[in-house]
């Protein structure tokens, strides 16, 4: 296993974890472009652009892109978030050069009007699909309520109106602000011929022009409160809560993650015993979401509407108890075992390794191997976890309730 890097003159970096024993090769372009980078009037452009990237270039039609990805037998996809857009493909090692050529080409898309209008309909269908799925747009809504005017509050999907109003010109302009070679990385993992990779990328991407791609990073002004979204024909009630959490820059982010594992993992956690073992909720969990300059602690509970209010009380009590009394050595040991096992299982898959390489670059973090990450978790102390539980807390959260319940008394 060898970690190798290369930087092109235009700023594009290549980061690869080369493993001669791997059966497959994974590649991904990771771009620092997400909904937090969108300005007024172009809501949803990052995600729409992600779709348009597959719609052809001066060298390939949309159909040819799809055809060639399949001809390589690739498992390929893309995803857009608040802070990044990722294009990835896993192939057999014999297709390394072909897939790198294709991925590099589509990073400079044509954005043709006809494709744009057809794909717009697909995006609208995607928005409507999520509108039918729990928690029915609740995630987007609580992000907006919690972050307020901060860019992190902007929806990744956008709305039917914002997407309908987008033009190829606005998308082109956004592309020219975010897709600078210096604002993206090509991450690779698995069986990689690194020298060949560098040659290919120099040839395909060396001529890309670099330009400044700044990201505004205002201080967060986290908000608290209670919002109900009435959804009369859903059966369950969905309760989402957010509170300030560790950021990507926080020293204690690993301790915060161990704390959320103890509090809200899907088996053996405090939430598990309170809500899942008892059947008081169908699902209940706690997560830590770190971003650039901000972050959140988030809980999600799905339960019978009649149990909603008491379940919110129960969650509050669990956080209060953890903050005041701390957790036990035994809980810490169990969480560490679980995390170590999870890291090992994930490390055996080429695609998860590629994501780890790319994500660490996105987060401006020096590369750590799975063993090194496992060691950081192993070294987290009980005091650090208890300190994190006091610092990242649901004292005055933003609460969003989605579902049939209308009469909120106690909140």
């Amino acid at each position: 296993m060898e970690y190798r890097q290369h930087r092109l003159a235009n700023g594009l970096e290549i980061h690869a974890e080369c493993n001669d024993l791997a059966y497959t090769s994974g590649f991904g372009f990771f771009v620092k472009a997400g909904s937090r980078d969108e300005t007024d009037g172009i809501g949803g452009v990052s995600h729409f652009l992600e779709h348009m990237v597959f719609k052809g270039t001066p060298n390939r039609t949309a159909a040819e892109v799809n055809l060639q990805l399949d001809e390589m037998g690739s498992a390929s996809n893309a995803r857009t978030g608040e802070e990044s857009t990722i294009y990835h493909a896993s192939v057999l090692p014999e297709f390394q050069s072909d897939v790198v050529a294709l991925l590099s080409d589509i990073m400079r898309p044509s954005l043709r009007l006809e494709d744009f209008e057809t794909e717009k309909k697909v995006i609208v269908e995607e928005i409507m699909m999520y509108a039918d799925q729990p928690p029915y747009g609740g995630y987007e809504r609580i992000m907006e309520e919690f972050y307020g005017d901060h860019p992190m509050g902007q929806s990744v999907l956008g709305t039917v109106d914002s997407v309908t109003g987008l033009t190829p010109e606005a998308m082109r302009s956004y592309f020219e602000q975010r897709y600078s070679p210096s604002n993206m990385v090509l991450a690779a993992a698995g069986k990689i011929d690194f020298d060949k990779l560098v040659d290919d990328v120099e040839r395909h991407c060396g001529r890309w022009k670099s330009f400044p791609a700044e990201r505004t990073c205002p201080a967060p002004d986290y908000r608290s409160g209670f919002v109900s979204m009435h959804k009369p024909n859903s059966v369950q009630q969905y309760l989402l809560q957010m509170a300030p959490g560790a950021t990507l820059q926080s020293e204690d982010r690993y301790a915060a993650r161990v704390a959320t594992t103890i509090m809200g993992d899907d088996a053996g956690s405090r939430f598990y015993w309170e809500f899942l073992d008892s059947g008081l909720a169908e699902s209940a969990g706690v997560g830590s979401y770190e971003h650039l300059g901000c972050g959140s602690l988030m809980t999600v509970i799905c339960c019978d509407p009649s149990k909603a209010e008491e379940n919110l009380e129960r969650a509050k009590k669990l956080f209060n108890q953890a903050a005041s009394e701390g957790v036990t050595e035994k809980e810490l040991a169990m969480a560490k075992r679980k995390i170590a096992s999870h890291i090992l299982l994930a490390s055996e898959r080429t695609d998860t390794r590629m994501f780890s390489v790319g994500t660490q670059w996105l987060n401006d973090q020096p590369f750590k191997t799975p063993a090194q990450i496992a060691e950081v978790y192993e070294n987290v102390t009980l005091d650090e976890v208890n300190a994190a539980l006091q610092k990242y807390h649901m004292r005055s959260p933003m609460t969003l309730a989605v579902g049939p319940k209308e009469d909120w008394l106690a909140v």
Binding site: T24, A63, L67, G73, S76, M128, A340, S341, E348
Partner: protein, 421 residues
């Protein structure tokens, strides 16, 4: 293609252990299936298998519920469980060194569950919550309706049951069900990853060898229902499912059908993705897949699309299904073959995925297939063979389930929409 080491061993009591030795990994996983699925539930107590699956994990041997969960946590085990139609499944993935300790806990859970009376109502609540959550999963709800109608009883039975049936189940029902259904005969323990086969067989023998086999229970059979069915619901999208005859693993035409359906639905250049989504922008999701029970199979096509475009989406899907009957091309088959080969090779990076695959092989075929054999089964197929198959079995006799604001019309396109035989 691979370094392959597949092994199997059947004990006198009918339990089979199958293994895929993957020494390049540091992990291991197992998939245990017990012939105790919901097909054996009493007609008025559907959901018993699922309820029992929940309850056996609430303490076993000398461990109470909390001690059981904590023992798994201390070993760092990522476990899963579900009650299916034929079988109830218990899965676990872990650091390789914890394989044997983990199996010991699973053996206790399967053979000596406490089924604590004081947790019966908690367990029932869990089952009721699952039913409630499924009501909000519209695509799954439509798919369950299709399977129930397409396969009839018991193959199409959904394991969750209903609020009424779950409410009827007593502790005594669960004890009886465990007593009669949890048995070594028909049980499969599939292990993949880094392990010592001899030691594993020896350990499994000690854990399960003295378990006595029991007779397989009778199952009530009811015929399928076909045609069109609409579930009215005020939703943004209409969820569309088209079903037609599929093929089981053990059928000689299985791979020919697999190729035909692959051309229809595998990859971004597949026909459904190209015609429904890429060219017309009718939906975000569209796919078809061959689903099977032990003796029946169905191809189910799904799409979710906004109400005013739902009829057009259904029409285009049917058009593509009918067109498939006219045959596929060489380049379509070539793309599919490389795609399948690529998928098979990448399975070697996941012990969990291999454990599930070899469990399924043993269940459906009673033997294990190497990845080379699987690859060969596909790579040796010719376009003429697929097209000959499609002439014999063109997609036809469609069943339709829709969920949404308005029902849709299944237009015939010259194809008889008569009931499935």
């Amino acid at each position: 293609m691979t370094q392959q080491q597949l092994s199997h061993y059947s004990f006198d009591n009918g339990l089979t252990i199958v293994g895929h030795h993957m020494p390049w990994l540091q992990s291991a996983a197992y998939a245990i299936s017990v012939s105790a699925g919901s097909r054996y539930d009493d007609a008025d107590k559907v959901g018993t298998a699922n309820f029992l699956c929940e309850m056996v994990q609430r303490g076993c041997g000398d461990m109470d519920s909390r001690q059981y969960i904590e023992a798994l946590q201390m070993l760092g085990i990522d476990s899963s469980s579900s009650a299916g139609n034929y079988q109830t499944h218990y899965g676990a993935a872990m650091i390789a060194s914890e394989l044997i300790p983990s199996l010991r806990i699973s053996a206790e859970m399967l053979r000596r569950p406490i089924l604590p009376a004081d947790q019966l109502e908690d367990g029932r609540m869990v089952c009721l919550q699952e039913i409630a959550a499924l009501e909000d999963d519209l695509a799954q709800k439509a798919m369950n309706e299709m399977r129930a109608r397409f396969y009839g009883t018991p193959d199409g039975r959904n394991s969750d049951g209903t609020i009424e049936s779950i409410s009827r189940i007593t502790l005594e029902d669960l004890r009886e069900s465990h007593q009669s259904l949890y048995r070594p005969n028909g049980m499969i323990i599939a292990v993949a990853g880094n392990f010592d086969w001899e030691r594993l067989v020896d350990e499994v023998g000690q854990l399960f060898g003295d378990w006595e086999s029991k007779p397989d229970p009778e199952v009530i059979t009811l015929p399928p229902e076909t045609g069109s069915h609409h579930i009215p619901f005020e939703s943004e999208q209409t969820h569309i499912i088209v079903g037609f005859k599929g093929f089981t693993y053990s059928h000689p035409d299985f791979y020919l059908n697999r190729c035909a359906i692959g051309v229809l639905s595998d990859g971004m250049s597949s026909r459904l993705f190209t015609e429904v989504r890429e060219k017309r922008g009718l939906c975000y999701t569209v796919y078809a897949s061959n689903h099977m029970t032990k003796n029946q199979a169905g191809v189910f096509c799904y799409s979710g699309t906004s109400t005013d475009r739902a009829q057009q989406t259904l029409d285009v899907i049917i058009e593509q299904l009918v067109e498939l009957g006219n045959g596929i091309t060489q380049s379509e088959l070539d793309r599919l073959k490389i795609r399948i080969r690529s998928g098979l090779i990448s399975q070697q990076e996941s012990c969990r995925s291999r454990a599930n695959s070899i469990n399924s092989d043993w269940f459906h075929l009673g033997r294990l297939r190497t990845l080379d054999e699987l690859n060969e089964s596909i790579s040796s197929i010719t376009v003429d063979q697929v097209n000959d198959f499609l002439q014999r079995h063109p997609p036809s006799n469609f069943s339709l389930v829709t969920l949404g604001s308005n029902p849709l019309e299944l237009k015939e396109h010259g194809i008889p929409t008569t009931p499935i035989g």
